[in-house]
Every structure is written in C-alpha cells, then in structure tokens.
Symmetry: C2
Subunit: 348 residues, 2 copies
C-alpha cells in the first residue's frame, strides 16, 4: 500500500484529534483500558490502527522515569558460554516482562565501555555484565550512578555488585573425581599459569579430589598458555614417555588444551584416547575446536548463570536503594561424559 504511506510518525495528539477525544483518553486506552468506556475505547483503537500510531518510548520513559528493558554486555559472543548466559538471562527477564538488550563487546574494552555508557544513558533498569579483565572503572561509574548491576563469571575485586560465578574449585574436583571413578589412578593436571583466576581454583579442586582418594597420584604439568597449541606440546611430551611414566587420566584446565592433547596423541597413534589416557576438559565450550575424540568436559552452565544473574538483578532493581545487600551466587558445574573418558573395553 505505497499509496497511503504515513509521512510522519503520528503522535498521541494526532490519534486523539482523529478519534475526537482528548490525549489523556488515548493514554488511558493504552495503559488503563478499564478506565475507559467500551465505545470510546473502540474509537481510539480504530484511530490508532488507522494512523499506524506507535507509542514513543522515549517520551514514555521520560514521563514515567522507567524503562522496560535491561542491558547485557557480553565479553564475546563467539564463545558459546556467553551465548548460553544470554539465553539464561533472557529467560529470567522474560519471566517478569523485561526486555533484554544485548551488546557484544567482542573482547574489546572500548566497546564494553561504550555499551555501558549507552545503557547508562538509556536509563535501562539494570545491567548484566560479563566483565573483561580490569573493568573496575566502568563498573564503578555505573554503580555511582545508582544503576543496578550484576557481574557474571568474573570476580572483579573492589567491585560493589552482586556476582554470579561458576564454582571453579568444584569444576576441578568434578573432573578429577570422574577420572578416579572410572578407574584412573595416575591423574595429570594440565594447567597454564595460576594468575588467571579460574585456573587456580580448578587446580585446588583437582588436588582435593586426589587428596580424598587413596592410591591415586597427581602430576601437575605446566603450560605456557591455555590454547590448543599448548595441548599439542603436552601430547608430544606424553607420547615420548614410557607407558608407566605417564598419567592414565588428564584434567585439562580448558577445552582447548584438552583438544590439543587429544589431537596430538591421536596423531602419534602410539597412545590411545581414551584407551591409554582419558581426557577431561573444563569448559564444554561449543565453539572449542573440535577434536578427533568427543570430549568429556565439565559444563560451566552458562544458562544457569545467566538466569541467576537476571534474578539477582531483578531483586536489586526492586529493592529500595540502600537496602540492598549484594550477594554472590556460585553455580555448580555439571559434567558431560563423552568418548574421551570411556572406560577401556576389556579386549582393547
């Protein structure tokens, strides 16, 4: 219908005029229909449809001082963990009729900051942030403006916010425990440097699992980084050892490392996964490079984190300022068992 295209966005005023009522009545039809007689409602509805009226949200939120949306700034949408968080948050928001707006920082600190500022200026009801390293400045800015905010997956020291974390100590524990329970007795923990927070926690968890169990040894195998290449290097080392001098089960601190190890061992074909060595990863990241063997991994439960975060945020949003007590929620990781830790078949 290109013939009767509306030139300009009609306002409530236009609708009111068209329907022969006052602007307040139009507003009432939209917001409190029970206050308006049936006949009038009908007329106004017709006018709205006829004119193609769309309520101007800027004016609305200016007048009411509220918004119906919350913002979420994600560190990296390429990483499926964050996509899962978005899902969870969306679910949480949906439940109370809030709309979730997503900004993807794409690992760019400037962009993270831009989005925070945008949401701040847009006066969203609150913000969910999966911060990148050292986001304190941006966080404090939001806080000082009194905007509710929840941090996801990162413990920003000094930040005065509710936080949702995955229990990384538990993640390490679960991974190691799984190996022990499937009969492995020489556990290897492959870990990058400790100064990346979660690595440290996972190490602790693995140690605890080993300590709790009799007759199991633990070897810690260091790497330079946390990537696929580092896993390959470890595989190379392992393949060169005598059979009785290498672990029979490995907890890799990331999926990338785990895949690197599996790939490296697969290539030499001297050592079988899971026959000779079982491998567990620690992130269950869909986007992790897919290896030659389906990887058993600890699930970081992104959706659960997102949902918990949304709930914390809503809680803070509806608590009168000043009365809110920040909380930290720990999400317990799960375990997804796949081929890389299958119990060796008898005849193998």
């Amino acid at each position: 219908m290109p013939a009767n295209v509306k030139k300009t966005n009609p306002s409530m005023q236009d609708v009111a005029r068209f329907a022969g009522v006052s602007i307040a009545t139009v507003s009432n039809v939209i917001n409190r229909p029970e206050k308006v007689s049936a006949a009038t409602t009908e007329q106004v509805r017709a006018a709205i449809a006829e004119l193609g009226f769309v309520r101007n949200d800027a004016a609305r939120s200016l007048a009411t001082g509220t918004t119906s949306s919350i913002g979420m700034v994600l560190a990296d949408l390429d990483n499926s963990l964050f996509v899962d968080m978005a899902h969870g948050a969306q679910q949480g928001a949906d439940a109370v009729g809030l709309r979730l707006l997503i900004g993807n920082a794409a690992c760019d600190m400037t962009r993270q900051d831009d989005y925070l500022r945008l949401f701040d200026e847009a006066r969203v009801g609150g913000v969910l942030l999966s911060p990148m390293e050292d986001s304190l400045a941006g966080i404090e800015r939001m806080r000082s403006h009194g905007r509710p905010m929840v941090l996801l997956n990162f413990e920003q020291s000094g930040a005065d916010c509710c936080t949702v974390l995955v229990d990384n100590e538990e993640a390490g524990y679960v991974a190691a425990r799984h190996l022990v329970e499937t009969g492995r007795t020489r556990i290897g923990f492959v870990a990058g440097r400790d100064y990346y927070q979660p690595v440290h926690a996972r190490r602790l968890g693995v140690q605890r699992a080993v300590r709790e169990t009799g007759g199991v040894e633990l070897e810690e195998i260091g790497t330079d980084g946390l990537g696929f290449e580092d896993g390959l290097a470890v595989a190379h080392d392992l393949a060169g050892r005598a059979a009785d001098r290498r672990p029979d089960g490995i907890v890799a601190v990331t999926d990338e490392i785990a895949n690197g190890i599996a790939e490296g061992l697969h290539a030499t074909s001297a050592v079988q996964v899971p026959g000779d060595i079982a491998v567990v990863g620690c992130e269950d990241n869909r986007s992790a490079r897919s290896g030659p063997v389906a990887l058993t991994a600890v699930q970081l439960e992104g959706a659960a984190m997102g949902q918990a975060a949304a709930e914390l945020l809503l809680e803070e949003m509806k608590t009168p300022a000043g009365e809110h007590r920040h909380r930290t929620v720990m999400i317990r990781p799960g375990l997804v068992v796949r081929a890389s830790t299958a119990v060796p078949a008898p005849q193998a």
Copy 2:
C-alpha cells in the same frame, strides 16, 4: 566512596545550578563546546564530574527526534552464522558511530515480534532482521511506520525491504566444482525437500557445475530432513552399495547432513572419507556437530552479510523518505577446504 552516594540522578538543571550557569550552557558544553568560553566549560565540566551527571537519553532523543542506535533481531544466536552476522553488522555500525543493539529471537516467533515492537517504540534509527519463516506481518508493521529495515539471509516474498542474501546457487556450484577439480567424477547431491528455499538454489548450482563439466555424473539422493540423522541414513545406504555404484564425491546440502554421512561411513569403516568418498558441507557452521573428519564446507560469510546489511541500512537511513530504492545484495560464498575432501594419497 559510599559516603557521598548521589541519591537521585542529577539533571542538567542540577548541573547548571551547581555551576552557576544556565541549563542551555550546560547543554552547549556537552554538545557544542566551541560555543562556550574556556572558563565556563571548565566549571561545567567540574560540576558534571562532581555530581555524576549522565545525560538522559530519553529526553535527548525526545527533543531531537533521533537516536544513535540501530537494532538487530537475530533468529538464533546459537547458530554461529548469526553471530558472524552480528559481528559484521557491528563493524558497519561502528564505522559511522552507531550503536548496535541485539535481540535474540531464539527461534521464537513471538520473541522476534516483541523485539521488533521494542525497537519500533524505541525509535531506533533502523532495524536489521534475519527473519524466521513468514515474518511478513511484523515486517510490514515496521515498514508502514516508516522505519528503515534490512532483511538478512531470507527472502521474504512481498516484503518491501533491502535484502542481503547469500548466493545459494553459487554455493552449490562452488561445492560441486571443488569436487570435480579434485578429481571426483561421480557426484552425489544429498538434499532434503526442495521447498526450503536455499536447498533448491544449491541444487541448481550443483547441476550447473556438473553440466559444465564433461565426464561427470550426478546422482541426487533425497532425504526426509536436513539433519545429522538424515546423513546417517544416507551413509547406511551408501555403505551397502558396490564400490562402483556409489558416488566418489558428495555435496551435502547442510553441514549436519555432511557430518552425519561422514560419521556413518566412519562407523562402518568399509568406506573411507575422503579416500573413497569426499564430502562437502554447505554452511560451515561452527556450531554444527563436529564429526570424525574435519569437514570441507562452503562458507556462508556471515560477517560479510552483516556488514553489507548495515551499509544498506545506513544508506536507507540517510536517504530522504520516498527516494530510497530497495536493493538486494548477493554475497558470494567462499570455500573452506579441510580433510574431508583431501585428494587420496597415492599409496592409499
């Protein structure tokens, strides 16, 4: 500094009072600093910092009738193609200083509609939409409100919008061509039903490639659906045939099917991939189930699509209403060669 938390969001009025100037001067300091003397600017800046003032975007956009953001509604963030599109769009938006807000429909039509409505009410500058089947109603609503909009990856018949599509005919052609060039002579095209738009186009492309080449046969192998299971079924069929009665190269219309075929053949181990049969997928979807062999696949170039879409949108946004001519941009797919189409080694 919990001691001097600001109770309420300070307004420009507050800043003006604090700095001892008029509200217009504050506005000028923010928007046209060149109009204000250095000394005044300094005072106002100080007041802004001291009070923690944040410009209220609702008021601003109400007063100016403009926004600095565009919206993007994605069918499914779990699918990496859409994530790529988001990246591309973001890049396009960044280039002109617009902010990109993302809504994830998560395959839910209602949610897609909610987001469209939200963006409409928020008066965003324009909307990018990767529509789900039959989104005509929502699209028309936006269009009739005069909101610029670009469709991605789906040709909605009857929609009066710019559109960015991947050239699916070309995708089929590229895939088949690759097989032929690596020496395969009996091509199989594994395809679900034709009524899913891209399937049809890809079929045409494969046919063209075969037609263009002498000495190559084409066999079309139908499936019920487009998933992993369907691929498994095809593998089963193939494995049961005599060696000279089966294709030596397969174009699967989706990655899922391709992975199913590879997995199924791998399991029987009677037929080798790529030794006996090379397999090409058609989406290069990172989230596709990872198979036993790294899959050669046609790249749908999500990022390029996103960027092209953003550019079309910006073009429409700055063209005076009525003068805009809609365009459709076809993105040419690329090819990512991996193990599943490696040329058989001589000794194998």
